[in-house]
Amino acid sequence: MREKIILMLVLLFLGVLIILPLCVVFLLSIVPRWSSVFPTSFSFEWWLAILKPKFTKVILNTLLVTAVSTLITVGYAIIASYLFAFYDFRGKEILSSLILSPTYVAGVVLALGLLTMYPLIRNTFWILMLGHFVVISPIVFRCVLSSMIKIPNNLIEASYSLGSSKANTFWRIVLPLSKQGILSGTVLSIGTNISELSVSLLLYGAGWATIPIQIYLERGWGILGIAGVLSTILILITLTTVFCVDYLGGKKP
């Protein structure tokens, strides 16, 4: 009985901290003017305002950055993990901590460095991509590596002994057996790419704002309605992709 009460309290606490703010964000998007404690009227005027090219561009930017960055990041993570899991080379340990280090460094600091180092691609899509890649790839790498490292070496050797080349073994044995790690890496990548702010805020150029950046800007200008709509869209995109990827991964033999 006591456990049940504690469990309820924990759930209530989580609800107040996580679920409720999300609901309020949605509420924000359908309240034209929120001046008193409780909203007085509802309308979809903010949702109509979002159809302006300025905002649709922001949404498209986000989807583009997320899609391209996820493709590159997951591809990189698979190749790097394969090398780390099945090959021994000098300086492996040091390289692994180097690869993982951006996780522990503040995004703004990295962004500042990238901005100074690559003046040629400043204000373009590519520096935004680069920033996202630098901060997100270590997380995805770790996720994929942890599943690849669990594949017993005997399986790989058995495959070779049956005449299967390295490439064929990679496609037929390594990839299928690390599917779970690759899928959760993809979910992580999509989730973090879509909501990345600390690096992109410094790196984004004119016309390349993403949803989180726009939310930040709107809040600065005090237009909470637009921020509410964008936040709701952000949540919806994230939930849909996570759900889709999880559904794909759920199909086990």
Binding site: N154, L155, E157, A158, Y160, L162, G163, S164, K166, L177
Partner: protein, 248 residues
């Protein structure tokens, strides 16, 4: 029909010499056992023959042809591991057909069917490795390897994961299958009794060296080296009537 000859094989990992100047021959259709305590370099020797690692010096010949630099996937050497190493994401049929499909061989289906009948595992096609027993897994592992007609069969302690009663049965069966397939076999074990009953010849290994090679009877009753005497002596205290266990 393949004969394997290893000449002066040496391999070290870092500063440790795992095998030192190994010389041995596996004759046509012979069942040769590498017997030694754990860490004596017998598994490394096996992997050298398999081609998953390469020797620092020395050569390996299959029927006189130098295969030292040929990678594992071109050597056509079959292996069965202690944990069987079946592909967990493929069903039994796909596991056994794996090598045939890789080599794009014809009549995959009938060849798989035939080997499954030979090894008495028909009917398991649709199952997955985790759904069958240890004994069945071993047969599947054997079938997967033998169906591609390897030149040599390597067995890496394949009996150490099964219980004592089953081990005795599987041991006889392994020998029967090896005879039937007429395939040169290199068997790795640390179990003296197993080695004595299954092998045509035994190579005693210690500290990366082959101490002595001989027929089970000679190794047991007339060991030439002190180490062999010592190592085999462990079981003479345990087994009173050696004829009973079927020493070869």
């Amino acid at each position: 029909m393949t004969e394997v000859r290893a000449e002066n094989l040496s391999k070290s990992f870092g500063d440790t010499h795992v095998t030192k100047n190994l010389n041995f021959t596996i004759k046509h259709q012979e069942f040769l056992t590498l017997l030694g305590a754990s860490g004596c370099g017998k598994t490394t020797t096996l992997r050298l023959v398999l081609g998953s690692i390469f020797p620092d010096s020395g050569r390996i010949y299959f029927n006189g042809e130098d295969v030292t630099d040929i990678p594992c996937y071109k050597r056509n050497v079959g292996i069965v591991y202690q944990d069987y190493a079946l592909f967990p994401h493929l069903n039994i049929y796909e596991n056994i057909a794996f090598g045939l499909k890789v080599k794009k061989e014809k009549n995959t289906e009938s060849k798989v069917k035939e080997i499954m009948e030979t090894l008495q595992i028909s009917g398991l096609e649709e199952r997955y490795p985790h759904q069958i027993s240890g004994g069945q897994q071993q047969r599947v592992a054997l079938a997967r390897t033998l169906v591609v007609r390897p030149k040599i069969l390597l067995l890496d302690e394949p009996l150490s994961n099964v219980d004592a009663k089953l081990r005795y049965e599987l041991r006889n069966e392994l020998k029967k299958i090896q005879r039937m397939m007429k395939i040169a076999t290199l068997y790795v074990t640390h179990d003296q009794e197993e080695a004595l009953t299954i092998s045509d010849r035994i190579a005693i290994m210690n500290n990366g060296r082959i101490i002595e090679v001989g027929k089970p009877r000679d190794i047991y009753f007339h060991p030439k080296e002190n180490y062999t005497k010592e190592f085999m002596g462990v079981i003479s205290k345990r087994l009173k009537n050696l004829e009973q266990i079927g020493i070869r």
